[in-house]
């Protein structure tokens, strides 16, 4: 039996996300275990992991709002501030740093007119530096909405920003961006993932656990 409190929250969500949330809830014996996938769904619904999003997840999971925030604030991928359409994450950990990541970051900050950690006035870009993206073999690495591009040099970084500004794609695709702006790649070990990303909120399509692809 679905708790009426859950229904009250979910019926405010889009039908697809409602359905996804119910599937997530069905997959766990304890309601509180669903807090993380639901935070992604709520973030999608609200654009980011807003106060309202955390309150809603609390109501669904039976946790208090602050308990939800305690989880959300631990992970940097739950955005508790609103971000731009494209979140550009420049890796500045050791391998990328050695391969000139600081210059890449500076170029991207300059091209988007957005300092590290901030969002552009037109809400198109958020720029951030991140710790190791797991692409050391293809350093320096840059990700747009978690779609990874390897071997990005400063001028390619600028070109990437320009391209995003001009074309403003709804979906960004790693392979496409790699071909346009990438350089040296680490060996290709990943599972082909042709889905792409439509926002900064990750979508775990394959595992039926969170997010959504659209």
């Amino acid at each position: 039996m679905m708790d009426p409190a859950i229904d009250r929250v979910l019926t405010r969500w889009s039908p697809e996300r409602q359905e996804r949330a119910r599937a997530v809830l069905a997959a766990y014996p304890e309601r509180r275990s669903t807090v993380m996938p639901l935070l992604y769904l709520a973030s999608r619904e609200h654009g980011y992991c807003s106060r309202e999003a955390m309150v809603e997840v609390g109501k669904i999971t039976g946790l208090t709002s602050i308990q939800v925030e305690s989880v959300a604030s631990f992970y940097s991928m739950y955005r508790r501030q609103n971000v731009g359409k494209y979140v550009i994450s420049v890796c500045t950990s050791i391998s990328c740093f050695l391969r000139g990541a600081d210059d890449v970051l500076a170029a991207i900050e300059d091209e988007t007119n957005t300092p590290d950690g901030e969002t552009s006035d037109d809400a198109l870009f958020s720029v951030e530096h991140v710790e190791c993206s797991g692409a050391c073999g293809g350093a320096p690495a840059v990700a747009v909405n978690w779609e990874l591009i390897e071997g990005v040099l400063p001028d390619k970084g600028r070109a990437l920003c320009q391209w995003l500004k001009d074309t403003q794609p709804e979906t960004v695709l790693a392979d496409e961006m790699q071909a346009l702006f990438g350089g040296q790649q680490s060996f290709d070990w990943g599972i082909a993932e042709p889905q792409g990303a439509t926002s900064h909120v990750p979508a775990f399509e394959r595992y039926d656990s969170a997010g959504d692809a659209s």
Partner: protein, 815 residues
């Protein structure tokens, strides 16, 4: 009470000495019991161990050599070899402290905790003395007000999680948590939502540093200037152990003291912060006598002469007494003796007909102790909302349900503080309780599982009036059923601090001191031997007393810490009674709605100001201590009554509280063998559960089932209590008074639709005893046909406690 089985023992070697300890006991506790204190921050004996802070590291021998392990998570096993004092351990302790002090400010001179701070103390005892950290410490905005009662200085926090674990495990109000876990971990509330918990003060008490401080105490004193004395809380009838801390005759702080039998160290914020009322400017300091319609100051001599003369001018049985439910046993006993043997009247009541019958409360068969919750298989709570009425008992029930795994059944007209942790929750419309009971007994429909659970004992049943308008006989019917359940233990509830004691002292129309019925001729004769001839027959109860005063059958009223005008279920009757009485004398600490209309008001000593004993809801007698003098000319109740008796030509022999207790022990059968030495505070001493060591209980009350007829009427009233109401003690505690929310009228949303009102609109409620207008609220947990109103509020009091109420929407002008 169930016997605890003998624990299995094992031998460990602690610092080279073989020591017998309980198998499985945590090493940190076992060592402490053996006299070796291991320093700690995160471990608190009433919370689950988490092993967070590493302050309690000890060296333990294992198959692959020695290792440092946290003693707060290490269970004792046979042959465990432990060193808690060697160089390796000291090095670890120094390291932990050096790390903690990286960010902890050295602002002890301006910190409330300074002088009683575990971090300060441990640093002195086990710390490195110097830090190698020269960089900047963390800084935060400080302090932030996380509630009206609690302030937070985040930079002092050492992340022990005691406060968050208390909220999660014990109180269930998880409103503070760690956020930004990582380098910037801090305790916070959710945005601007306050840490609004009835138990917030406990986090302040257990915080091992000065990160959480209580607003009412902050910067008021230094711990080394405080004198502390143990006593028990007189806020409600749980009898929680407290430490009352004073400086220069001012009570500045009340902390909980760990007691296995009652509060486990916890208090409600009401227990903790109503100390402000002790020093209220409005405390009565001099006797007042009415002259030309005004209460004016008078000397004790003048006031007492007047009272003696007026009481002497009417027949004894034209006088009635109300109160003593907040007095000590010694005071209550003197009151009963004064009324029965000096005034010679049988009319007296410690209650205001707002809880259960005197015999049921004082002498039910199968009476439970709080600790029966520890062994209960199933717990049935069919009473007021415990979180609102008896918060510490709520904590104990919650513990049984969440930590000890008892099956919890809660039956109440709406959702209660326990609903979230209960296995079975039933709500019903007030007036339909008898039918609900019938269905529960039969295991009818939705009751089937709960009924089955009641077959697995021991079954502890907590019964009380769910609300002011409910028939008190329902609770007895529930108890009559509960007695038939396996290993039944029954706890009938009343709320006022020493109401059980006052009844035991015979402040009752039905009872003589020591749990003797007034109908018990043998008991009566025995009492007459001591007190002289007693008035004939059964006396009048509170409502009958008020009716008698109104009709003129009774002429005079003596109140002792009671306010019938403010608190009786029929406020208009109480008001008329006091108006029509020829003479009213009030013994009290504050002026209330009744004493303000009295002819004479006598100021008496209150909590912390007089010594004595009190008896809690399980019949446990505990000692109350005196730590400050009463204000102004206020005197102890017994000395006032003793003086009065003398002026009326009699003697009470009430010279001091201890002598009175000796007299009680010799006269009241249930109290035989009790003396103050027996009640002395000390390790593992928690007073005495009655009957006393040489005691007997002549009256054995058998709860009976009465068929209470179902009500008719469109709406029935649930008049439920909330913790912070407009009671005098709250009104005189500024820190709590701001938390009081005015009463409203709550309905199920479908009823709102039928009434065509919206939340925020007004309705007029008209009952048998009065009419009020209240704002409307929606409450889905109510059954249709119920209106829920918070009791004892300035804007709801006039309604009284009538079961059936007429509800009409109040339409504003022009709509």
């Amino acid at each position: 009470m169930a016997d605890t089985p003998q624990p299995e023992l094992v031998t460990i070697t602690l610092n080279g000495v073989d020591t017998e300890v309980r198998k499985g006991q945590l090493l940190i506790d076992a060592a402490e019991q053996a006299g070796t204190y291991i320093p700690r921050f995160c471990y608190q004996n009433r919370l689950k161990p988490v092993g967070l802070c590493r302050m309690c590291l000890v060296e333990v021998e294992g198959p692959r050599g020695t290792a440092l392990v946290p003693s707060c998570t290490q269970p004792c096993t046979e042959g465990l070899v432990v060193d808690s004092e060697n160089a390796v351990v000291h090095k670890a302790q120094e390291g932990v402290l050096e790390f903690l002090l990286l960010n902890h400010p050295l602002d002890c001179p301006v910190c409330d905790k300074g002088g009683e701070c575990p971090l300060q103390d441990h640093t002195v005892a086990y710390g490195p003395g110097e830090s190698r950290f020269v960089e900047e410490k963390r800084h935060y905005e400080k302090p932030i007000e996380i509630s009206d009662l609690v302030l937070l200085d985040r930079e002092r926090c050492i992340l022990c999680a005691r406060c968050t674990r208390f909220c999660d495990e014990i109180s269930g109000d998880s409103l503070i948590e760690f956020v930004d876990r990582g380098n910037g971990t801090q305790i916070l509330t959710f945005f601007d939502e306050p840490f609004a918990s009835y138990f917030s003060g406990n986090t302040v008490q257990i915080c091992p540093v000065g990160a959480l401080t209580a607003k009412p105490y902050r910067f008021r004193a230094r711990p080394w200037d405080l004198e502390a004395i143990e006593s028990i809380s007189m806020v409600d009838s749980v009898g929680s152990k407290v430490s009352v801390q004073t400086s220069q005759n001012q009570v500045l702080r009340i902390n909980g003291v760990d007691s296995d039998t009652t509060n486990h160290g916890w208090l409600s914020d009401k227990d903790r912060f109503t100390l402000q009322a002790i020093h209220s400017e409005d405390r009565l300091r001099v006797p007042l006598v009415r002259k030309d319609g005004e209460l004016v100051e008078a000397s004790w001599g003048e006031a007492l002469e007047l009272v003696a003369e007026r009481l002497g001018s009417v027949r004894g049985d034209e006088v009635a007494g109300l109160g003593a439910a907040r007095s000590t046993n010694e005071e209550a006993y003197t009151f009963a003796k004064f009324l029965r043997s000096v005034v010679v009247t049988p009319h007296m009541d410690a209650q205001l007909d707002d809880a259960l019958s005197d015999e049921f409360l004082a002498a039910t068969l199968n009476r439970a102790e709080i600790n029966d919750l520890e062994t209960a298989g199933t717990i049935l709570v069919w009473a007021g909302d415990l979180k609102e009425e008896l918060p510490v008992l709520y904590l104990r029930v919650r513990r049984a349900a969440t930590i000890l795994g008892a099956t919890l059944i809660v039956i109440h007209p709406r959702r209660t503080g326990l609903s979230d942790v209960a296995d079975h929750v039933f709500t019903y419309r007030p007036g339909e309780g008898a039918d609900t009971l019938r269905r529960l007994k039969a295991g009818d429909g939705p009751f089937a599982e709960a009924r089955q659970a009641l077959d697995s004992g021991p079954v502890m049943t907590i019964v009380g009036r769910t609300g002011g308008a409910e028939d008190p006989r329902l609770a007895e019917s529930v108890a009559a059923f509960a007695r038939t359940l396996p290993d039944a233990a029954i706890m009938p509830l009343a709320r006022r601090a020493n109401v059980y004691g006052a009844l035991d002292m015979g402040v009752s129309a039905d009872l003589l001191p020591g749990r003797v019925s007034v109908r018990d001729t043998e008991g009566r004769t025995a009492l007459e031997d001591a007190w002289g001839p007693l008035p004939e027959g059964r006396g009048k109860h509170a409502t009958e007393i008020l009716q008698g005063l109104k009709s003129g059958d009774l002429k005079a009223l003596i109140t002792l810490g009671a306010d019938p005008v403010g608190n009786h279920p029929q406020p208009a009757l109480a008001g008329e009674a006091v108006e029509s009485a020829e003479f009213v004398v009030s013994l009290d600490t504050l002026l209330n709605a009744t004493s303000a209309r009295a002819d004479v008001v006598l100021p008496v000593a209150g909590f912390g100001e007089s010594e004595g004993t009190a008896t809690n809801l399980e019949g446990r007698v505990q000692k109350l201590n005196r730590i400050i003098p009463p204000p102004g000319q206020a005197r102890t109740t017994w000395s006032v009554l003793d003086d009065l008796a003398r002026r009326m030509g009699a003697t009470l022999g009430a010279h001091d509280a201890e002598t009175i207790m000796k007299e009680i022990a010799s006269i009241a059968p249930a109290y035989a063998g009790i003396d103050w030495a027996l009640l002395d505070w000390g390790e593992g001493r928690d007073g005495v559960v009655l009957p006393g060591p040489d005691g007997t209980q002549p009256l054995q009350h058998m709860p009976v089932e009465t068929s209470v007829t179902a009500t008719t009427g469109r709406f029935t009233l649930h008049l439920g209590r909330v913790l912070y109401d407009n009671a005098d003690v709250v009104r005189n505690s500024p820190s709590l008074d701001v938390l009081v929310q005015p009463a409203s009228a709550a309905f199920h949303p479908r009823d709102l639709a039928v009434l065509a009102v919206q939340p925020g609109d007004s309705v007029r409620l008209a009952g048998d005893y009065g009419t009020v207008e209240l704002a409307v609220r929606a409450d889905e947990s109510l059954a249709e046909g119920t209106v829920y109103v918070q009791a004892n509020m300035d804007n709801s009091r006039a309604l009284g406690a009538s079961l059936i109420v007429q509800v009409d929407a109040v339409r504003g002008e022009g709509s």
